[in-house]
Amino acid sequence: MAETFRRSMSWLHTWAGVLLGSLLFAMFWMGSLSVFDREIDRWMMPATRLAAAAAPVSLDRDVVPVLQQLAADSPQWSISLPSTRTPVIRLQYQGADRQRQRRDIDPGSGVLLADPGSFGGTGFLYPFHYMLHIKWRQLGYWIVGLAAMAMLVLLVSGVVIHRKLITDFFLFRPRKSLQRASLDLHNLSGVLALPFHLLIALSGLIIFMVLYFPSAPLTTYADAADAQRAFTDEAYGRYSREPAGRPGALASLDAMVAQAQQQWQGGQVSTLRVHHPGDALAVVELRRSAADDLRMNLDQIYFDGVTGAVLRRFEAAPVMSFQSLLSGLHLVQFRHAALRGLYFLLGLSGCVMIATGFLFWLEARRASHLKKGLKGVRIVEALTIGSVTGIVIATLAFFVANQLLPPDVQWLGVDRAGLEVRVFYAVWLASFAHAAGRPRQGWREQTAVIALLSALAALLDVRATGVVLFTDVPAQQAALGMDVVLLLAAAGAGLALWRMRDRPAWLRGGSPATPIGQVKHG
């Protein structure tokens, strides 16, 4: 499109980045948090900070009667077995209002826990990462998919426009001009973590390959009545059958779990799904845990719900195993705290890359836009502040609301979990308004709010649950870890605030900046 390939890529990199950077930042931020979504759950749902049960759980004794009472009419029950990261038995079913319900059972006592009143990390932050909570016609998934393709485009074009790729490994000049420093940091975070960013964008798309290429099986499976279903049945091992419409007594789930673990030679069951519970043709689906596997393990066994006989045993074919390896590298379900920590930091490096990309764009244009009277810098700057510090503030407000809202609060027909989410969106919107209204003080003031809210969230948690410094209960360690990270974030934001003191006048709220010399890319 331009005279040279590099120029075209430079143009593409700039404009794709400015247009989609806000969305990509939100995805990277939520994705980084999702690495620790279950730890966030423990923090937001203090009643689930349980020690591992001493005796193994009996599903037939403790779980099935509860589901028969709560969800007799639900077409499906999902039972997730307790693990190190989620020490409760998690039930999911369709409630009387046809909405999906989630309840937890304490595996130690068999007691049904009260509704946590929160979607937590797994129910709000994680789905935000991959579908933005836009359910209409799966639009959220498509927007995220397009952004992930744009991320790949940005990475490749970013590499193309570089002149000195190796030098950038070692180049950071924080004390030069803001424009220079932000470009250095943009390059550093982009180049150092390039393999991670490429992997994460590509594997994120690959997880949803069936959704993004719905037409893929139409030719190969042209002979099937429903090509898409025939394909997913074969590739993912789905098995289903119509209910009989007459009642049938459910066979022992405990026996099925024991049989599956024996067939998987020690591999643990993560989830059971009972399809058409109570029907004579009920099917019980058992899925293998990925907690000790890099792959997103697709092993499944289907049992006849009434006779307990094995209907189907599935293991993925070779290419599908490769797909599940790439999915596993994105979904990081394996149990390894340090490796997960690395994922968290690499995810944040993506946030740094996007934020500094915005800063460089702004600084490179600030003087000339001011001279020509263009509004671009002001608009993009407000959008940047709201997308970067704003979403962090909104997330922290979500945490603080979780601590402050009374247990059974209802407001305008919205329940407690819904109110937490409303707080998130309201605060996020307010941060954009604030950034638009106070562009010069925006960064500084929002950073101050981050410092305050982080510290407040940690203190509120400690006040509510007491100081637990030395514990060998993983769920309490998870909550403690989150408190520590919050305090570190508060300290980091405080430090940033201190550093901004020395920044150019426009950041402090004084007169506009003096023009900074144009800095060439790379």
Partner: protein, 106 residues
């Protein structure tokens, strides 16, 4: 008359780059996707026909490669200088590939 005509030309000249960019973006995102989706359909069929993969694995492999093809097309769409050529390949090519896939289906 001439001033009006001049003004029209000026406005058209001013908006022409924006329209060209809009067309290019649409061709890249939608045309590129249409091209890729059809290529994935045909590729999956060909891989299955080769006998080297099971049916499901052939479709999975085609879909995985599809993401890389789409990436390549997106980059090319912004590098190619001749918009007409871009339209020919992405719109015309997609039409041809979809016609081929349609023949295989029925």
């Amino acid at each position: 008359m001439t001033t009006a005509a001049n003004a029209a030309t000026r406005i058209a000249g001013r908006w022409q780059p924006a329209v060209a960019v809009g067309v290019r973006v649409l061709l890249a995102v939608l045309g590129g996707y249409a091209f890729t989706a059809a290529a994935v359909m045909l590729g999956g069929w060909a891989l299955a026909a080769s006998g080297l993969f099971s049916r499901s694995d052939a479709v999975v492999l085609a879909a995985l490669l599809g993401f890389l093809l789409y990436l390549g097309l997106l980059l090319w769409a912004f590098a190619e200088r001749r918009l007409a050529r871009l339209a020919l390949v992405l719109a015309g090519g997609s039409a041809l590939l979809h016609a081929g896939a349609w023949l295989l289906r029925y």
